[in-house]
């Protein structure tokens, strides 16, 4: 890698030896500049065609970037370093970057739609393009190429100063007019996108205060997954009672109905708590539910509306595991469905 870069760095100044002086003295391009042109010109033409035929908008934008940078090389080669560098700073660095900013938001897989939005658009486009082609051909065909002159005088005090004299001396009025135009455009964009704030602004502080007032979720939401067993996004976390926390699963998964069945995980925990190991069965099978479902018990208590701490009268052992768990399961799925429906509707 080092070698490659070194080679690039090193190869460059060799070009520099021949290029600049020749044009200045004779008004003819030097060999090096001609080589540079014939290398860059096909690249630029290909990139320009890429702009036309690329399927993805970002590829088209990249093609424009290639054209712009190549153009900057040519400017510099023709002893306009200021123009060349500013071309890169302003157009490539700022304008195309803004384009990319917008384009990226449409995603990598999106291709342009080829549906005509205006009827006859295509034919009008072809016609206008042909007209432009004719005009260009006419102009280029009639152009003559006299020997360049005056470059040395123009760049006598270095290129930027020469340009500054032109822009802020001779063409100062045009510059001011263009400046006004741009300011007006920027102000217009501001005015058009301005909305009056009708409601007070709700910032981070207001949101935090509202959360405290409403008394819900002061801390971040619980993360999904039961660590050491099911560290997955679709598995609801369990609260200290072993009760599954549905809201720990990301909302998107819940809306899609992709979350794992909370009851199953609750039941497994219940089996563990019921003494899957205490019974001597070192490893319990997860296929059958056997054991007092503590989590389900808690749910059933919730559903029944009595939330007091009386662990004694909860059904113990393998006495009546079925009814409460079934009840809780029903309650739970109902909850889940309601939630899902609500969110889909929203």
């Amino acid at each position: 890698m080092t070698g490659a870069f070194a080679a690039v760095h090193a190869a460059l100044p060799t070009v520099a030896t021949a290029v600049p002086t020749a044009l200045a003295e004779t008004g003819r391009t030097s060999t090096a500049e001609a080589v540079l042109f014939w290398v860059l010109a096909p690249v630029m033409v290909l990139a320009a065609l890429g702009l036309l035929f690329a399927r993805k908008a970002v590829h088209a934008a990249l093609a424009v970037v290639v054209v712009m940078i190549s153009l900057a090389f040519l400017y510099v080669a023709q002893e306009a370093p200021f123009l060349g560098v500013v071309q890169v700073v302003v157009y490539t660095g700022a304008v195309m970057m803004l384009f990319l900013f917008v384009l990226m938001l449409v995603g990598v897989d999106r291709s342009d739609s080829l549906v005509e939005t205006i009827r006859g658009q295509r034919w009008i486009g072809v016609l206008a393009g042909a007209g432009l082609g004719v005009v260009l051909a006419g102009v280029v065909g009639r152009a003559t190429y006299p020997a360049a002159q005056g470059l040395v005088e123009a760049n006598a005090d270095s290129n930027p100063i020469g340009i500054a004299r032109l822009v802020f001396g001779e063409h100062v009025l045009a510059l001011e007019v263009v400046g006004c135009l741009l300011v007006v455009a920027a102000l217009g964009a501001l005015v058009l996108t301005h909305r009056r704030r009708l409601a007070p602004r709700i910032g981070q502080r207001e949101l935090a205060e509202r959360r405290v007032r409403e008394g819900a979720n002061l801390a971040p939401l619980p993360a999904p997954g039961v660590y050491a067993r099911h560290n997955a996004m679709d598995v609801p976390a369990l609260d200290p009672d072993g009760r599954p926390l549905e809201h720990s699963v990301p909302r998107v998964l819940r809306v899609r109905g992709q979350e794992a069945d909370a009851r199953e995980y609750a039941a497994r925990i219940d089996r563990v708590l019921a003494g899957g190991w205490a019974n001597g069965a070192g490893s319990f099978t997860s296929a059958t539910g056997d054991g007092p479902p503590l989590g389900a018990r808690a749910l059933a208590r919730d559903a029944a509306g009595k939330d007091d701490d009386r662990p004694e009268d909860a059904p113990g052992g393998a006495d009546a595991p079925d009814e409460p768990s079934a009840a809780s399961a029903d309650a739970h799925t109902a909850d889940g469905d309601e939630l899902r429906d609500e969110e889909v509707r929203r």
Binding site: T2, V15, P81, A94
Partner: protein
């Protein structure tokens, strides 16, 4: 991009080029080759050292040893890391846009390597009999060229984020775009005042213009703006939002592995070296040593390389220091600083500097007089501001009644706000009540009723 460098009019005619202080007319092919290779070697080894340096300094700030196993003082740690990255599996994401995905890290590294070509390391020296400035090349718009390289380098980040076809990288890429657009403006504007004072955009001439005074002193606001925006430009903490680990895994680099990731990493550290070198050259007098006369032997020959490196590493230390002590900004705060503080401040400063320069030109005042006059004005302004009586804050509307304090507002135990009094604890209340019944006098506790028992939640 690179050819911008190559076809520069490095030597017009026989003398030095117009608008450039350094004289490259003696340079021949092998001198260029030597300088170019030296720059590459310098950058790559500096990155290795910088990574070690950062880890070591941050560790010291956090009172832990840092890397100390490989080599003396852990110096070979970053070499080991680089080797590890090299031999890791190079994954190309299946859903990625292949070409752009592979090109993106190359763009980032390539552009970052270009900047040092115009940074002056020192004055003229003799290399094997050829007298040449310690600088690969220079031209009248060298500083703009640096900005151009930086702005193209960002394409690497943006395209890397986009082409990975994944959510976090895309968000990182989008953030990076917005960040660069806003912070490059502030950076460019802060540099404009240096151009105005130095009368040139060529790096050698800017260094040449700092024989009297380094620009960071008279142009302090511009220097501060540059410091802030250079941290933003290099995606370093506290402005590393494109790769915020807490939010975006690692942003635009998430889907990259092995060497492609290493290239992004390399580009980031080279960019730190780049902006440090630019700050040194434009604001800290480049390779000049402080307090020494210009004809001292320490200001000539190879010595200045030492001063230059010391200043660059001072800025590198600054980067690490900031990283070790400042928290990451929230994205909207970050944008607000860029657009509502830095850019307006930079604009106002540029106008002020332009006015002062115009006055200097008009009445032909020399720099030192101008600076003393301005400093005098600032001091007078300060003194006057001390004489102006401080505006007394409006006395707050006197609270007619101490607000009733509910220690369990909305069901939560809350502390008293200013102006509120915490009622005595339940036990104290009971004791008070007991005392009151005993004595027969009624001394009820202030404040509303509080529950006598606090049940833990």
């Amino acid at each position: 991009m690179s050819r911008v460098l190559g076809v520069l009019p490095a030597a017009v005619g026989d003398g030095a080029q117009a608008g450039v202080a350094a004289d490259f007319s003696q340079d021949v092919f092998w001198v260029w080759l030597l300088k170019a290779v030296a720059i590459i070697v310098f950058l790559l080894t500096s990155v290795l050292v910088a990574i070690w340096f950062e880890r070591k300094v941050v560790a010291r700030m956090q009172v832990r040893p840092g890397p100390n196993v490989h080599g003396p003082f852990g110096l070979l740690q970053s070499l080991a890391d680089a080797m590890k990255l090299l031999v890791k599996e190079d994954v190309t994401v299946k859903a990625a846009d292949k070409l752009v995905y592979i090109v993106a890290p190359m763009i980032a590294v390539f552009c970052s390597l270009l900047v040092y070509a115009v940074i002056p390391f020192g004055p003229e020296v003799s290399i094997f009999g050829v007298v040449t400035p310690l600088q690969l090349t220079d031209f009248p718009v060298a500083t703009l060229y640096i900005l151009a390289c930086a702005s193209v380098g960002v394409y690497g980040i943006v395209l890397g984020g986009w082409s990975s076809n994944s959510t976090y990288p895309l968000l990182g890429g989008v953030r990076s775009t917005a960040q660069v657009i806003s912070y490059e403006l502030a950076m460019g504007l802060s540099l404009v005042s240096v151009f105005l004072m130095a009368g040139s955009m060529s790096t050698s001439q800017i260094v040449d213009s700092q024989t009297q005074v380094w620009w960071f002193l008279p142009l302090l606001p511009a220097f501060v703006i540059y410091l802030v925006s250079m941290v933003g430009e290099t995606n370093r903490l506290p402005f590393d939002l494109p790769e915020a680990e807490g939010e975006l895994v690692s942003g635009y680099m998430t889907e990259y592995s092995s060497m492609k990731f290493a290239w992004f990493f390399l580009a980031e550290y080279i960019n730190m070296l780049n902006v440090s070198a630019v700050a040194t050259t434009l604001f800290l007098g480049g390779w000049r040593a402080p307090f020494l006369p210009a004809d001292s032997f320490l200001q000539q020959g190879w010595w200045p390389v030492l001063w230059f490196l010391a200043k660059v590493w001072f800025f590198m230390f600054l980067f690490v220091w900031i990283r070790g002590s400042v928290l990451r900004f929230r994205y909207d705060q970050f944008m607000k600083i860029g657009w509502k503080v830095l850019i307006p401040a930079a604009l106002v400063w540029v106008v002020a500097v332009a006015l002062v320069q115009a006055v200097r030109r008009l009445w032909d005042v020399d720099l030192r007089t101008t600076l003393f006059v301005l400093a005098g004005l600032v001091v007078v302004g300060l003194v006057v501001s001390f004489l102006v009586p401080e505006k007394k804050p409006e006395p707050e509307a006197a609270r007619a009644e101490p607000e009733p304090f509910d220690p369990f507002a909305n069901g939560y135990p809350v502390p008293p706000l200013p102006g509120q009094v915490l009622p005595p604890s339940p036990r104290a209340q009971r004791r008070l009540a007991a005392g009151a019944t005993d004595a027969g006098t009624s001394e009820s506790p202030s404040g509303p009723e509080t529950p006598l028992e606090v049940r833990g939640g």
